[in-house]
């Protein structure tokens, strides 16, 4: 874990330096640099939602609480990364479009995604019994995931004002060395995501242990 954190830190410092020495983009000026965090945050959050789906399905099949802990940890951290994506996007929009928010399919669907997974955490809070909480949360997570493909494909399906993808596509105008920095930032944020998830996971396991001990004490006394 320490190694991963260190690696993430090194990569982030390297990327931040690289981003700071890049020339300003012709049309957008300074603000374009936000893309190096905006896109990776969305990418890791999206992978996170897929892992949460997998963990939820695995919990329903095996009834092993290990998967429930993984699902809640990954969803909570993913929610933070999606928030980074929304906030950076909003800052960029204020500079380029002149407004903080536009009701555009891409932006709206990303916001819906955030609300959906926030609903997941609220649902967990309102259920006391651990087995029921884990089961219902897993079912909800599966339903929530049906919205994720909409976010991903929204800029391809509908005409939106959100910029079209510029890398990994044929008409991309993103220079190769910029792409390298972007990819390395995805790696850095992925590592950070993994570390934060592990911290949260440990917290979840400790919580379970405390609950167990408390019940035992109740049973004895």
């Amino acid at each position: 874990m320490i190694v991963m954190l260190a690696l993430a830190a090194v990569l982030l410092v390297r990327n931040l330096y690289n981003i700071s020495v890049l020339p300003d983009e012709t049309n957008q000026g300074q603000i374009f640099r936000i893309i190096f965090f905006h896109v990776p945050a969305a990418a890791v959050a999206m992978v996170g939602s897929a892992v949460a789906l997998l963990a939820s399905v695995m919990f329903l099949i095996t009834k092993n609480f290990k998967y429930d802990a993984l699902a809640v940890a990954i969803t909570e951290v993913g929610l933070a990364f999606l928030a980074v994506n929304l906030v950076t996007g909003s800052i960029w929009a204020r500079v380029i479009w002149g407004v903080w928010w536009a009701w555009d399919p891409r932006l709206t669907s990303a916001l819906i995604c955030w609300i959906l997974y926030a609903g997941y955490l609220i649902l967990r809070q309102s259920l006391e019994e651990p087995t029921q909480r884990a089961t219902f949360a897993a079912v909800y997570s599966i339903f929530a995931f049906t919205d994720v493909p909409i976010v991903y494909f929204s800029i391809r399906w509908w005409r939106t004002i959100h910029p079209q993808p510029v890398f990994f596509s044929k008409n991309g105008s993103f220079p190769a060395d910029w792409t390298l920095t972007l990819v390395l930032n995805i790696v850095a944020l992925s590592l950070l995501y993994a570390v934060l998830t592990m911290v949260r996971l440990r917290q979840e396991n400790t919580q379970r242990e405390i609950d167990y001990l408390r019940r035992t004490v109740h049973a004895i006394s």
């Binding site: 329903l60 609903g119 609220i122 649902l123 309102s126 087995t131 599966i142 339903f143 049906t146 919205d147």
Partner: protein, 226 residues
């Protein structure tokens, strides 16, 4: 065949219970009226601009009114431990789900069919110009609303804040579906035919109906047995 008769048993049971008390459908229809009335204060009812958002207004009324019916669907089974009896009954969870969903579907559709003419009168909209396509949108949209709503009704039935949790969880999940239903309804209520690019919304509606129905059928046993 057995499965179908099991589904029908649940549906007729739910509809009969509702017809005798009329508690959910009365409340739902009155609520639809109140929301229609309130919306008329928010938007000038006779203006052209309001007619352009009519589909959105309609579906807001429908989901609000529908939630009341969905909330009752499983809450009604709580007194006298009827829910435990239903779970213990020798029918699969999928049959229980389909039966309940069908009953809810019929009830919500009934409320919609009463609310639509009222909407037409209050907002001066000639909504029946494209009647059959509009009917199709209503059926597809309402089925999607009912499938998710019924699963989540079962899921939230034992939660302390049931009345709040159901809409909180259901509305965001339903948004892709509502988006299509609102867009199509707006066009159809205005008397325009659905052509070209707009048919994609029909595909979205049908796609989500299939996804939600399949997921619900698979997950219902899990939800019921918790």
């Amino acid at each position: 065949m057995r499965f179908l008769s099991q589904v029908m048993t649940i549906t007729t049971k739910d509809l009969r219970a509702e017809m005798r008390t009329k508690e959910a459908i009365n409340a739902s229809f009155s609520f639809a009226l109140v929301v229609l009335l309130l919306l008329s204060f928010a938007f000038e009812p006779t203006e052209q601009t309001t007619q352009e958002i009519s589909g959105g207004l309609l579906w807001i009324v429908f989901i609000f009114a529908g939630t009341l019916i969905l909330n009752r669907s499983f809450a009604r089974e709580l007194p006298n431990d009827c829910l435990d009896a239903l779970i213990a009954a020798p029918i699969p969870g999928a049959a229980l789900f389909l039966g309940k969903a069908l009953a809810n579907f019929i009830l919500i559709l009934a409320v919609e069919f009463v609310a639509l003419p009222v909407f037409g009168i209050f907002y001066n909209v000639r909504w029946a110009q494209q009647f059959w396509p509009l009917l199709l949108v209503l059926i597809l949209g309402t089925w999607g609303l009912t499938t998710i709503g019924t699963v989540f009704s079962a899921l939230t039935v034992n939660i302390r804040l049931r009345e709040v949790m159901l809409p909180l969880l259901v509305y965001p999940v339903m948004i892709p579906l509502l988006l299509g239903a609102m867009r199509l309804s707006t066009l159809l209520v205005a008397g325009q035919a659905i052509t070209g690019d707009e048919t994609v919304w029909f595909r979205l509606l049908i796609g989500y109906d299939i996804i939600f129905t399949a997921l619900s059928l698979v997950l219902m046993d899990t939800v019921l047995l918790g």
